[in-house]
Structures are given as structure tokens and as C-alpha cells.
């Protein structure tokens, strides 16, 4: 009797736990780090009694290698760089989304980007967040007139006070713009001039770093200017470090965007679509825009109703029309040009 009692005592909690685990569905999403903020994902989990397993990554290359090492059906939702959507659709990774289930009409028109998301008449992804790779700076130590011109990226006046964000596409896009080349028109023949300009930038820079070290460098005063920065670096810090600012130079800036879609092999396409709908809802968009990992503009214009005035000010909500007009999309090289651009970038790092 004693044995039965003990066994029962140990077994009941296990059964309860197992039962709970069975009752709760799970969704696996491959995302950028802003989606891992509990404040963003928990409302969806609670409302749908679902556990969202989030794996964050940097760079589409990493995501593709993660997918390559996974089994079909392992992943349900995919957040990917907007310019890479055609590439992942071509690889057969995304399923078409029902257009009537998406709030496309509420999105800022410039970032709908049907050329990237609609292929053969089918919509495979939708923009969820966007921002700019431009110039972040310390307004206490840097002259606002200097950062209004893109030449600040190689300005000797700020030698050893400049950090460069270590991502070749946006920074090479800025370099192309400084040379008068549109980001969409970058050719292999432009690479030598871009390499020379990058080397000039390296000569005056202090460091080239990924997100955390770039943010740390400008926040701690190690550098005063961050090339490739933008609202995603400084907007979330404005309450603590109001002297950190960002600007789009006269010559323009590079616009980045992230898109979300549902994996073609997902075993839970309905739940995955529900998660996409939550992300695109005004509430979800406001939470995503102010995620602890980084802030940036929500794609859905109706998110304004769920953001405070201070949040909108930090995101420069009212300036978006002008900014969007003066920004070009990330370069979207084909595989061959992409490999050559990465070689130039590695040379730049090694310079």
C-alpha cells in the first residue's frame, strides 16, 4: 500500500505535466532577435495556449544553414531579410499566404514591396518592420553639419572615433550611394571604386563590429559615429542617453526591412498564419517596434495608435515620408555578385 501511495505521488505530477505538454501546441519560428522579447511573444502564447519556440539568427546565410541541418517540418514561421525573400521562395522554403488574411492595405505603401513578396501572382511573405542603415552619432561631440553629409564616413576630423557596422550589404550600399551609384544598380565593375572608398573608411575608423559591439561602442563613448547605424541602435537608448542621435545624410540612406512568412513544410500552417497575423496586428506591431533587442518602424501604420508619443518621437514617426523618399533598398546582388561583394568586404576587414 505504501509503495502504491509513493508511486502514485510521484506519477500524478508527471501525468499532469505530460498532459499539460500535450495540451499546449508548439510553434517553431526562425526569427531575428527582436521577436525573442517576452513582452512581444507572450500575449500571443497566452491568447492561443501555444508555446512559441524562437531561434534567433543573424544573416540569411546562417538561417539557410540552420534549415539545411533541420528536418522538413521542423520550422513553421520564418522571419527573413526582405531582399532575400525571392531567394528563399526560389529554394521552395515558403508557402503562399492567403492575401485576404493579411493587412497589406494598412502597411506604409513604400514597404509593401510586391516585387519581393509576390512571385507568379502568389504572396509568400509580408513586411513586418523596417528602418535605415545610416549614421548614428553622439550629438555632444559631433557637428550636426558634418553628419548631414555622407562624406563623414571617411572624414579625417573624426579619425579613430568612427565605428562601422559589420554587415556588408548596408554599408556597401551606403558606399555605393556616396559614389553616386544606386543600390539596385551595383555591378561587378563598381567594386574596385567601392573597395577604395571602404579602405578610406577603414583608415579613419576605430572598429568594425556586429550589433552588440557597435551599440556598446557608441553607448560607452568609445566612438562618436556609427556608420550603418540608425534608429535600431539609438531609438531604444534615448531615455538613458539622449545625446545619441541618428540622421539620414543629404545623399540618402539604405532602407532595410524584414519580412515574415510560413514555411512550406510547416505541419501547423494555420497556427503559423495566426502568428503572422498577430505580428502584423497593430498591437503586435507596436510591441515588435519597441522590442528590447532593437527598435525600428512597424510596417503597419495603424500601430501608431498603440505607441506613446515619446516612442513615436524616438522612431521619428512624423519624418517617415521624407525618410522613405530619400532611402534606397538594400543592395540585392545575385549569388555571383554577392560572393564578390563578400570578398571585398573581407579584404576591407583585413585592410
Amino acid at each position: 500500500m505504501k509503495k502504491i501511495t509513493l508511486t502514485t505521488l510521484f506519477t500524478i505530477p508527471l501525468v499532469i505535466c505530460a498532459g499539460g505538454a500535450i495540451a499546449q501546441e508548439e510553434l517553431n519560428a526562425l526569427v531575428w532577435c527582436d521577436h525573442t522579447d517576452p513582452g512581444f511573444v507572450e500575449p500571443f502564447e497566452q491568447a492561443n495556449n501555444v508555446k512559441v519556440n524562437l531561434k534567433d539568427y543573424e544573416g540569411t546565410g546562417t538561417a539557410l544553414s540552420l534549415i539545411e541541418q533541420s528536418q522538413p517540418g521542423d520550422w513553421d514561421v520564418f522571419v527573413v531579410d526582405g531582399i532575400d525573400v525571392p531567394r528563399v521562395v526560389e529554394a521552395g522554403l515558403l508557402a503562399p499566404l492567403p492575401e485576404d488574411a493579411l493587412p497589406t492595405a494598412d502597411l506604409f505603401p513604400e514597404i509593401v514591396m510586391p516585387e519581393n513578396h509576390v512571385i507568379d501572382g502568389k504572396t509568400y511573405a509580408i513586411t513586418e518592420k523596417f528602418g535605415y542603415n545610416t549614421i548614428s552619432y553622439n550629438s555632444n561631440t559631433v557637428d550636426a553639419a558634418d553628419v548631414a553629409d555622407i562624406s563623414v564616413m571617411w572624414n579625417e576630423k573624426y579619425k579613430d572615433r568612427i565605428a562601422i557596422y559589420d554587415y556588408y550589404l548596408p554599408v556597401m550600399g551606403l558606399v555605393a550611394m556616396s559614389l553616386g551609384i544606386d543600390t539596385a544598380d551595383i555591378q561587378e565593375s563598381d567594386l574596385p571604386a567601392m573597395r577604395d572608398r571602404l579602405f578610406e573608411m577603414k583608415d579613419v575608423s576605430r572598429q568594425v563590429g556586429e550589433v552588440v559591439s557597435s551599440q556598446t561602442a557608441i553607448a560607452t563613448g568609445e566612438v562618436d559615429i556609427l556608420v550603418g547605424g540608425g534608429e535600431w541602435v539609438t531609438a531604444g537608448l534615448t531615455s538613458e542617453l539622449p545625446h545619441l542621435d541618428w540622421v539620414i545624410p543629404e545623399q540618402g540612406a539604405v532602407r532595410w526591412s524584414q519580412s515574415v512568412g510560413v514555411f512550406a513544410d510547416s505541419k501547423k500552417p494555420d497556427l503559423a498564419l495566426k502568428f503572422v497575423q498577430y505580428i502584423l496586428s497593430p498591437e503586435g506591431q507596436a510591441r515588435l517596434a519597441t522590442s528590447s533587442c532593437y527598435w525600428a518602424m512597424p510596417a503597419n501604420s495603424k500601430a501608431a495608435d498603440h505607441l506613446t508619443d515619446q516612442q513615436k518621437k524616438a522612431l521619428r514617426w512624423d519624418d517617415q515620408a521624407a525618410y522613405l523618399a530619400n532611402a534606397q533598398l538594400y543592395p540585392a546582388p545575385d549569388a555571383e555578385l554577392d560572393a564578390k561583394m563578400q570578398d571585398v568586404w573581407t579584404e576591407f576587414l583585413q585592410h
Binding site: 544573416g59 526560389e90 568594425v208 563590429g209 563613448g221 579584404e347
Partner: protein, 287 residues
């Protein structure tokens, strides 16, 4: 039971004891290594993995100067770190072994290796706080009136070497100390009897006898340092790339596992050559 069957029984018993180690080595070294060699002979073209065997990735290594430069940087930094770590670790190990009373030696060793207990990444970021423009070192130097403007140490090779040396001095101290405490005091007495002073005794007797400890530590330092990318990534500021950083770039930016595998094999060949050279030069079989 005749001698032949006893030998057979002995052989099979031997295999029972050796078998797990052989299986372990096969599963966790030989098989992954063969897979990596196989991968290095394939190619990544766009998003496709082309499973046709060729040496293109190895040829690519020598075609691209920034790849070769990465290897040169790795070798230079590793050599610098190994030499500086030995120079710092030897006196430390000697003081602990010879000058610290026996009962305090364990505590002294514990204090020497205490930094090992903190996370490697955290330790690297901590060094960044010390070495940065507004960091503790610059604050102290400026406060003491020794410099007028902050030194630029973070995001340089000096920062990378500093981070590495901090780690490897601890490792070398352990291996040299282990060697020093095993030396019989009779060596010194005999040298003194023969008229050698302390300096000559050290140079001609103690140092050669502790070479095995130095070489074991130096080789471990070489292998761990040349394969590391975290310290150069955090402290070096991406201002010069070492080969492991270039390998990581192939994986994270391109998902190009074949090139990454080929570069890893190149790195492994370099480590093997270093081992063979060190073993021949110093007769490592004594170690």
C-alpha cells in the same frame, strides 16, 4: 591452457580495455574528420551544394590574399602570445614552486587559476572595459598624469594579445609548476658542488629539465590560441582577421561549409606541422 591460447586471451582482454577508447576516437575524431575532408572537396554555388569533388576550395585559399593574410595573422598572434605567456608564466610558476611555503602552494595555485572559473566571453568583454578609451587603464594612467590623452588599445592586436595572454599564463603556470615541483633538490646541490652559481644552475640545469613542461604548455597554448575566434572578435575590433574568423564568416554569411571545411583543414595541417617541428626539435617523446 597453452601459451598460444593465453596470448589470445590476453589480446582479447586488451581489446576490451582499448576498444572504448578506439570507438570514441573513431566516432568523435576520425569520422567527423573524414566527413570534413569530404565536405571540403564539394562546392557551394549560390544556394546550391555541388557534390562534385574538386580541390577548388584549397586553390581558392591561395588565390585570395586576404585568406592567406588571415593565416599569417593567426601565426603571428599565436607566436606572440605563446612567447609572452611563457616569459610571464615561468617566473610565476617558479615563485610558487620555490618561494611559497609548501602549505600555501595550493592556495597560491588556486589564486593563479581563479580567472579560469569565469566565462571566457565575459572575461573578454571585461578586458574591453579595462582597455577601452574611457576604460579603467586609461582613467588610471590619465589620473596619475602619465598620459594626456587616452591610449587606443581596444580594437587592436595589443588588446587581442592581452586577452589571450591573461588566459594562457594560467595554463602555462600549471604545466611548468607541475614540472618544477618534480625536480629533485639534488640537481641543485650537485650543480653547486661542481661550482655553478645560481644563475648558471638555472640556465644549464633547471631550465633544460623543465623544458618538457614548457613545451606541453606552449603546444596547448599554440593549439588553443590559433583555433580561437572569440577573443580576436571581441577585443580585436575586426581590424584584422585571423583564420578562424574567416572560417566563421564563410559559415555565417554564406553558409559555405565546403570553403569553411577546406580552411579548417588548412588550419589543422598548420597545427600538425607545428607539432611535428616542436616534437623533433625538442624530442617531445621525453614529455
Amino acid at each position: 591452457m597453452g601459451p598460444a591460447s593465453r596470448n589470445a586471451t590476453g589480446d582479447s582482454r586488451g581489446w576490451v580495455f582499448v576498444g572504448p577508447a578506439v570507438l570514441w576516437t573513431l566516432a568523435f575524431f576520425v569520422v567527423p574528420f573524414v566527413v570534413m575532408v569530404g565536405y571540403s572537396l564539394w562546392q557551394r554555388e549560390g544556394t546550391e551544394l555541388v557534390r562534385a569533388w574538386s580541390l577548388a576550395n584549397y586553390a581558392g585559399f591561395f588565390d585570395k590574399p586576404h585568406f592567406v593574410e588571415g593565416l599569417v595573422n593567426s601565426l603571428e598572434i599565436t607566436a606572440l602570445v605563446t612567447v609572452i605567456s611563457i616569459v610571464l608564466a615561468y617566473p610565476l610558476a617558479w615563485i610558487i614552486a620555490e618561494r611559497v611555503p609548501r602549505r600555501w602552494q595550493r592556495l597560491a595555485l588556486l589564486l593563479a587559476i581563479l580567472p579560469f572559473w569565469t566565462s571566457y566571453v565575459v572575461r573578454s568583454y571585461a578586458w574591453l572595459l579595462v582597455l577601452s578609451r574611457g576604460g579603467y587603464l586609461n582613467q588610471w594612467l590619465m589620473g596619475a598624469g602619465l598620459i594626456e590623452s587616452p591610449l587606443e588599445i581596444a580594437a587592436t592586436r595589443i588588446a587581442t594579445v592581452t586577452g589571450f595572454v591573461h588566459f594562457f599564463v594560467m595554463l602555462l603556470t600549471l604545466t611548468i609548476y607541475a614540472n618544477l615541483v618534480q625536480l629533485s633538490p639534488n640537481y641543485r646541490r650537485a650543480a653547486a658542488d661542481l661550482g655553478a652559481g645560481p644563475l648558471r644552475t638555472f640556465w644549464q640545469v633547471i631550465l633544460p629539465l623543465t623544458l618538457p613542461g614548457i613545451m606541453v604548455g606552449a603546444f596547448l597554448t599554440f593549439v588553443l590560441c590559433i583555433g580561437d575566434y572569440i577573443t580576436p572578435q571581441i577585443l580585436g575590433g575586426n581590424n584584422e582577421l585571423v583564420l578562424p574568423q574567416i572560417i566563421m564568416l564563410q559559415i555565417t554569411r554564406r553558409a559555405d561549409f565546403p570553403t569553411a571545411a577546406a580552411l579548417s583543414i588548412v588550419l589543422m595541417v598548420v597545427v600538425t606541422l607545428a607539432y611535428i617541428a616542436a616534437a623533433r626539435w625538442l624530442r617531445m617523446e621525453r614529455v
